[in-house]
């Protein structure tokens, strides 16, 4: 029990009981995605060669690996928030909703960790032949 009054405990939380946290995080990751995917799309246009060795050297550079890792992390946070709303809106059965949310969390965490690992390994160990 905390010592706040009843009204103090619920103020600002609203009917969703999470306050504005989800909404705000969705917007912040959206702005982050705009910057990071703009960088990514422009990079795709400017990559001189799509041969494997050229791509591996490109991805291993710090100034490519770091924004790529940020992009993967940021996109999957945004995916988590966005697909959560889809599940809340369209899956009405409580059991199915719980299962869908669990699957969603597994999907985003596993995918993000996999992607970050792939980029980090290339950046730390250098491009393989």
């Amino acid at each position: 029990m905390d010592s706040r009054t009843n009204i103090g405990r619920v103020r600002g939380l609203g009917s969703a009981k999470h306050g504005g946290e989800h909404w705000l995080k969705q917007r912040l990751t959206a702005v982050g995605n705009m910057l990071l995917t703009t960088w990514f799309v422009l990079s795709l246009f400017m990559i001189p060669s799509f041969e494997h060795s050229a791509l591996a050297q490109w991805l291993a550079q710090p100034l490519v690996a770091v924004p790529m890792i940020l992009m993967i992390a940021n996109i999957f946070s945004h995916v988590r928030l966005g697909l959560q709303v889809l599940i809340e809106d369209y899956v009405h059965d409580e059991g199915l909703k719980f299962a869908a949310m669990t699957l969603l969390s597994f999907y985003v965490i596993a995918s993000a960790v996999f992607g970050i690992f792939v980029v980090a390994k290339l950046a730390f160990t250098g491009a393989l032949a």
Partner: protein
């Protein structure tokens, strides 16, 4: 709380006349879903193929980009499947970007006048269409050798 499945429900999508404002809203969800699944899985495959070495990348290219002259039937079918995926993901990206920008403007409280709202909903579609066409033509001329 027991729910009667036959209870009266409020009218849903099918009874309204479609407007750009409605379409842009549901497209934002649909394109977000496509990007989150097909888009991100293809991106991760591409990245891990680069990280996995030349042989691993050659496999990615055979299935996704071009099977080449000696490609198997499965690989050629897979190429066409991924061309469709690429088109869908490209359109989804620009659609989600344009309508996401629209949402950020709406979030600051602007753009709710009926005409303005309708105009910018249409602009999101038009922008996404032309950006997708540009990328498709660019890729077709540079990588696939069509055009």
């Amino acid at each position: 709380m027991a729910k009667n499945p036959n209870r009266p429900l409020s009218p849903h999508l099918q009874v309204y006349r479609w407007s750009p404002q409605m379409a842009v809203s549901i497209f934002h969800r649909a394109t977000g879903f496509i990007l989150a699944t097909a888009g991100m899985m293809t991106l991760l495959w591409w990245l891990s193929a680069i990280g996995g070495g030349a042989e691993s990348y050659a496999t990615f290219e055979k299935y996704v980009v071009s099977a080449g002259a000696d490609g198997s039937g499965v690989q050629i079918a897979s190429n066409w499947f991924f061309r469709l995926v690429a088109l869908a993901v490209t359109f989804s990206f620009f659609q989600h970007l344009a309508s996401g920008l629209r949402h950020l403007v709406l979030d600051i409280g602007a753009g709710y006048e009926l005409k303005t709202n309708r105009t910018w909903a249409s602009v999101a579609f038009v922008a996404a269409f032309f950006a997708t066409a540009f990328v498709a033509l660019f890729v077709a001329s540079r990588f696939i050798g069509v055009l």
